[in-house]
């Protein structure tokens, strides 16, 4: 269980670090207003588009990875134990 926790935690923090870096570059129009979740830049070039894609991927990686290791895998183990014991 502790292993699953630290795996999920590492994925969460690492993914959010990547997301925060790109979000600070491209989604922080003003430090006195919205930060990190501002609107995407209009008319992004090729590299900016790639960076925005990586940012989205990092966010989903962090959230889905943490959910997987903290919820899905333990729940599936519990379910497997339950069905193994009931049969």
């Amino acid at each position: 269980m502790a292993d699953e926790f630290i795996k999920g935690f590492a994925i969460l923090t690492g993914g959010l670090l990547v997301w925060m870096t790109f979000a600070a570059w491209y989604n922080t129009p003003d430090f006195y207003g919205t930060q990190l979740i501002g609107a995407n830049p209009e008319d992004p070039g090729t590299y900016v588009s790639m960076a925005l894609l990586v940012k989205e991927a990092a966010l989903y990686f962090a959230l889905l990875g943490a959910t997987t290791f903290w919820v899905v895998i333990p729940a599936s183990r519990r379910a497997r134990e339950y069905y193994a014991s009931s049969n």
């Binding site: 925060m20 870096t21 600070a24 570059w25 922080t28 430090f31």
Partner: protein
């Protein structure tokens, strides 16, 4: 199939007495290769050195085992320091800098507040309603409200400063000391409520109610935590953990 036959799946009485051919658990560990073997030998050697040191010297046996500063603690601290240094370098180089406007010394800010971690002290300065008015002085106050607040700070800081001198011996889990744990919970809650009182202009609660809650909520939280911890003292796991965590008495 009789019950005495060994089962291949590990169930049943398949236990056989070890002979000379069967490796012991220690030998099994030593036969593994790679990083696990290196780690095992490393810590086994450290444990052995510690054991020798205990046996051949007048070294007082302590309850808590420690590792030597070199190399164990040094390598660990180097890796930790490298990680945090790298994280600082990464953040400072990758995130755009936040350069705020320069402060205007000619203008008083709208909200005057200390930093958030000093809100509790700022809140203790606002205890004017608790400052008693003495009838023998004709309704005058013995202490001015600001002095009363400063003395409240002295009382709180003094109470916290006394804690290390209350020798309770080794640290214990909260379930073993429900009363003192409840005191601690009440103190933590009071730190938050007095902080909320410090920024009462920003808290959407009626000020008088907020003032009452500031001193009521800590007692409520302490009572709840005392009850919960008292309840947790029962049961099999409590006894098991207590036996496990109990340290040898000091000589």
């Amino acid at each position: 199939m009789s019950d005495n036959e060994p089962q291949t799946d590990g169930s049943g009485p398949g236990i056989v007495a070890p002979d000379d051919e069967v490796p012991s658990w220690r030998e099994r560990k030593e036969r593994t290769t790679g990083l696990s073997r290196l780690t095992y030998e490393y810590f086994e050697r450290a444990r052995r050195e510690d054991q020798d040191l205990r046996q051949e010297s007048s070294y007082v046996e302590r309850d808590v085992l420690g590792f030597p500063a070199w190399p164990h603690e040094t390598i660990r601290n180097l890796s930790l320091a490298s990680f945090f240094t790298g994280m600082i370098l990464f953040l400072s180089s990758m995130l755009p800098p936040h350069l705020g406007d320069p402060a205007n010394p000619a203008q008083t800010p709208e909200v005057i507040l200390p930093d958030w971690y000093l809100y509790w002290s700022f809140g203790l300065l606002k205890l004017g309603p608790l400052n008693p008015e003495l009838s023998i002085l004709g309704g005058n106050k013995l202490l001015s409200d600001p002095l009363y607040g400063v003395l409240a700070n002295v009382v709180v800081v003094g109470a916290i400063a006394i804690v290390p001198f209350l020798n309770k011996g080794s640290a214990r889990r909260p379930v073993e000391q429900p009363f003192w744990a409840a005191i601690g919970v009440g103190g933590v809650v009071f730190a938050f409520t007095i902080s909320a009182l410090a920024v009462k202009n920003l808290v959407p609660i009626e000020p008088n109610l907020l003032f009452d809650l500031t001193f009521l909520l800590p007692f409520v939280a302490a009572a709840i935590s005392y009850a919960v911890l008292k309840t947790m003292r029962e049961g099999y796991m409590y006894d098991l953990n207590r036996r496990y965590y109990r340290l040898r008495p000091p000589r």
